[in-house]
Subunit: 517 residues, 2 copies
């Protein structure tokens, strides 16, 4: 199920709805995900007594519906020594029977906020021995012996590229190695930057999948473990499609859960803003997407054309507001200070910031939520203007390398051209000075992305990357840019997390340091 | 000593310098602070093998200087199971004899990056039994029995208001309760937003201070524990003076350690920017401070006058660059989109963002580092423009309530008027629309600050604050503003930490939540 943090009423109603549905189908044991009652990640709310009290109140009401059924539901709770722990609450005969706590706190989102508890415990449901495991305890707890016939794991697993296949693989092996049935129940839904992907599953003791629940959607599934359920085939996972679905879920829930209705986006004619606009139009409806084209004297004709064609293809409202005049007035105002100093990166940044300002004005005036359009390659090397390219309420492609943005663009065009092919084919340019190309400052994106991937996701050192065949100068160039631009990422808007190395979340570096310089 | 993160060469030379000085004075045991070799907080650098290798290399070289002396020096190290731990390395006879690890990892800056180790160990220095305790282990380890005559604690304690007197009190009691001599050695210096305050100390078994080392400065002190050292009086701590010294240290080190030379600041005529400019002029020299006055049609004459007088008092370079024309051009450009819609918060934000943009242009063109001028009262309730008031490389008063900014202003004027008295006496106003006063939107600052202090630093609930005598409507109003503005603080620049509740660092809230709404 898809929960909202702190929306106790809605979460409770959703849980009770499932309880009633399960009772109607004669279910013995109904399992929810970790922290279902509260929604997650709740950060410091987890340490507020009033927040935990509301969890308890919800649980008591949920319990009152649980006759003739056993229920395991995740929630944060106060331990006997007044710490907050994550538990699976067991409800039977309308009574809260016990809490099974989580021992392993290994997520950066929880490390501050949750304390370790006892870990795996065993319960008996109609004669069947069930091991109840919360979250990552499943990774360390491997010796179930004769204590369990079934292992049930309540989770809160974030989406990241490749995680679904890896997770299926892990649970399949666990089932096979322990010789037990394994039930994995995960949360689904977006919570600002975090996306839970669902993909709950049941595997039998031969490591075969008996049930694979939906990814990126709510799902409810009843399985009879005494019946001879035929195993199902694990479908091939397509990374681009999964990323596409993850972003749609994250974006949609960000708007829905915050009560936002409409978005605004700046269209440059380039690939990044095109992909963001196409995704927004699909998720929010084109009538709720307002785009601005903000050309300057450095914008090429084709950029404006490409942006306009995209807006028309999407059916989104668009307006052309050149920044030329404001830029000229601003330059004139600053004239007495700048004197005869030549045009440099200052004026490039001014253009990006003027665009950010116009978009924020549109956002303020009409209540549209500004979507950021930066990608991970740019933000990693700092190829973007702070308070210009960094602005927005949320970045939906900020954890995708440029090459992945192209993959997404091609997927969006799978049934016909939505993003103009010229946008996909032309060389990327910031168009902040005459005849500028990204590759003038950066490396070609295929090389840049490959070096960044090794550096960020695989944690390779400069030497390792050079030994893998990359040019030494290129590698040092990229490393230097990443290190020098930590301060820009510090003030970046929230970024939908799609990888194992989200900058600023999975990778936190000091802003003042001599290391690596 | 004042270390720089990752500047192994400089840190090592500083440590070796102390070793030589101590040897010349016939010292038996020389103690440095926690993570002296690496500098702190190093965040994810702590998990890089190459970073830890450089620590080891430094330590080996330091050891080569340690003949006829025992040395305890803090550094991060790799544990036998490949985790990073914080240790006190014991050097004797030029050899690294052992590592004493830290058990308690309780700082949010370290929780991700350090693993718990074994904790307190005992060593013998010329027949004297010494308990070696790293960091917060001192708070839990209280049973030393006969194992120790002296307790030595290597630390990395952040500054926060009131911490020095609390810490003296803690160590005094510890010495008295255990009946042992207690030696506390703390780091000093600014590391971006973190300030270590030094204030190392030695207490005898009667709980008397035998040595109080400098606060906010490096210090080196030799004490003969066999001699009859007369106890010294613990001086009264003045919060405003300590905050003033903390900011000067933090600001100065931010510039020095990053190699920055000059700063720029926007002066409004108000108290916040005045205090920031005065501090910057004092720390960096007035010749390195470039201020802009950016009046609009809503600025009062006295604002420009007050700002000009301040700049002249400081001897800082100032220029007056009205935003009126750029604001007019921008408004005109947006005209076709905004139509006849009335002037609202959009236009107020546009003014703040134009100012932010001009300051960033100045920063980009001349390499000045932009100092943010927001205070904690504003940022807590979101009374400020994102990408306008939030901009800057660092905020030096962003963890001070408005009332504390006034205290600082009066202290800055202690020997004569630097900040114009009109700036201190007039009612605060953002001057973004005619006759605006902060108290129109907010409460009077004395009430606002009192409610915020109870909410943020003391963690009181709405009910507790109301029961303490505050108006129910006011309390709900303030709570609502704090909760609704989490997203602005997410993208705020780094803030010098001066309290126990720095927003976004000591208090992390979900951006999407229904709790408290």
């Amino acid at each position: 199920m898809n929960y909202t943090i702190g929306d106790f009423e809605a979460n409770k109603m959703k849980i009770i709805g499932c309880v009633n549905q399960a009772k109607a189908q004669g279910v013995d044991l109904l399992v929810f995900s970790e922290q279902a009652v509260s929604g997650a990640p709740a950060y410091d709310l987890l340490n507020k007594v009033s927040f935990l009290d509301l969890c308890e109140d919800s649980l008591v009401e949920i319990a009152s519906y649980c006759d003739n059924i056993s229920v395991l539901v995740g929630m944060p709770a106060q331990s006997t020594n007044n710490k907050t722990i994550s538990v699976a609450a067991l409800i039977e005969d309308r009574k809260i029977k016990r809490y099974v706590g989580k021992k392993t706190i290994d997520s950066r989102d929880e490390l501050f906020h949750l304390s370790p508890s006892k870990g795996c415990e065993y319960i008996k449901i109609r004669g069947t021995k069930v091991a109840v495991v919360v979250g990552s305890d499943i990774k360390t707890e491997q010796e179930y012996g004769d204590y369990a016939d079934i292992i049930v794991n309540l989770c809160n697993s974030h989406y990241m590229r490749g995680c679904i296949e890896n997770r299926y693989d892990f649970y399949r092996r666990l089932a096979f190695m322990t010789g037990k049935t394994v039930v994995y129940v995960n949360n689904v839904g977006g919570q600002t930057d975090v996306i839970y992907d669902g993909s709950s599953a049941v595997f039998n003791s031969r490591g075969e999948a008996l049930a694979l629940l939906k990814s990126f959607e709510e799902d409810f599934h009843v399985i009879d473990l005494n019946a001879d359920v035929p195993p199902c085939k694990i479908p091939e996972q397509n990374k681009t499609i999964n990323v596409y679905r993850a972003i749609k879920l994250g974006l949609g829930d960000f708007f829905r859960k915050n009560g936002f209705l409409s978005a605004c986006i700046g269209l440059s004619g380039g690939i990044d803003s095109a992909v963001v606009a196409a995704l927004a139009a699909e998720v929010l409806g084109p009538e709720n997407v307002h785009v601005l084209l903000m050309p300057s004297q450095f914008s090429s004709d084709h950029s404006v054309d490409d942006a306009r064609i995209l807006a028309e293809n999407l059916g989104a409202r668009y307006q052309i507001v050149p920044i030329t005049q404001t830029f000229a007035t601003l330059t004139q105002t600053l004239g007495p200070i700048f004197g005869e100093l030549p045009f440099d990166v200052t004026e490039e940044n001014m253009q990006a910031r003027l665009r950010g300002m116009m978009l924020m004005a549109l956002s303020n005036k009409f209540g549209h939520i500004l979507l950021n359009t930066s990608n991970k390659s740019e933000s990693a090397v700092g190829y973007g203007t702070l308070y210009g390219d960094s602005v927005g309420a949320i970045s939906i492609i900020g954890d995708l390398y440029k090459s992945e943005v192209y993959d997404l663009a091609r997927y969006i065009n799978r049934n016909g051209e939505i993003i103009p092919s010229n946008t996909i084919l032309k060389a990327p340019s910031a168009e902040l000075r005459p005849n500028q190309k990204d590759s003038d400052t950066l490396l070609p994106y295929d090389i840049l992305d490959a070096i960044l991937y090794r550096m960020l996701e695989e944690g390779q050192s400069r030497e390792e990357i050079i030994n893998a065949g990359f040019d030494e100068e290129d590698v040092y160039h990229v490393y230097g840019m990443v290190i020098r631009n930590e301060h820009k990422r510090y003030q970046f808007c929230p970024v939908l997390r799609l990888s194992s190395c989200v900058l600023g979340k999975n990778r936190i570096m000091p802003l003042t340091s001599r290391y690596g310089c």
